[in-house]
């Protein structure tokens, strides 16, 4: 069994309206050292071991459903864990 952590964010080239609002808000609280905030999604997946390469499976589900490649990027971390 794998535990997979997936992070989805808007692509660097795409302006993030939420992140911009939060940056402005932090600056208004005098945290002027904060120059940028990008807001994204965090997902945890449990995936059973199979014949298929785990990275292949993750990339497939990310590009098919979890992220929209037109505007979003994703990255992930994989941990092996014991099935419960």
């Amino acid at each position: 069994m794998y535990k997979v952590k997936v992070y989805v964010t808007l692509r660097e080239s795409v302006l993030d309206p939420q992140g911009k609002a939060v940056t402005n808000s932090l600056n208004a609280l005098n945290y002027n050292e904060v120059t940028d905030v990008r807001i994204g999604k965090y997902m945890e997946l449990k995936i059973e071991k199979s014949d298929r390469d785990i990275h292949e499976v993750i990339n497939e589900v990310c590009s098919k459903l979890l992220a929209n490649p037109v505007i979003e990027d994703y990255r992930y971390e994989v941990e092996e864990c014991v099935a419960q």
Binding site: V14, L15, P17, Q18, L65, N68, V70, I71
Partner: protein
Amino acid sequence: MKFAVIVFPGSNCDVDMYHAIKDELGEEVEYVWHDTDSLDGYDGILLPGGFSYGDYLRTGAIARFSKVMKEVIKAAEAGKPVLGVCNGFQILLEAGLLPGAMKRNESLSFICKPVELKVANNETMFSNAYEADQTITIPVAHGEGNYYCDEETLANLKANNQIVFTYEKNPNGSLEDIAGIMNERGNVLGMMPHPERAVDVLLGSADGLKIFQSIVKTWREAHVVKA
């Protein structure tokens, strides 16, 4: 002409769409549930607004994998008119029937108000009842109508005259004031404003009716034998 209004769990403009076709346009229309596996017998496909599958993950992201979407893609490939309004537009983008994606409105607010649109292309099966560059008033109601695509896609949209409606005063930050685009073939239109809510002056505007009238006019010219 017989229309299908596709109903997903969470659609909430399906009744307005049905009313617009049946009572204002005077054509045949039926509700079609999202797990239907055939759209044979329907001449036009309408994807209404709402919050399909709670807008979980991304707007339209779950709906695009519902059973009926395979049939919607088939209908689009067969050249049938397909119109997606608001959430319907978002579903068409996720399904890849139209290029680009939707982001949160620039203001981060849900915007619900009548807006002025320019008919940027009146030589389409969805807009031929309008004058060129005509200004019309149709309401918007969305939180994610901030249309985005990359430069290459935008250049293609322009080169093929696929931008059908633009906002006179951009309410949501969408690229190039885009309110509605069609596919290259010209039989799939997605738009954020709600024409089905503007089909009678009692509702504030009847400017949306001409979209449905354009579809019927084009269909009749192709399918009804002249006496």
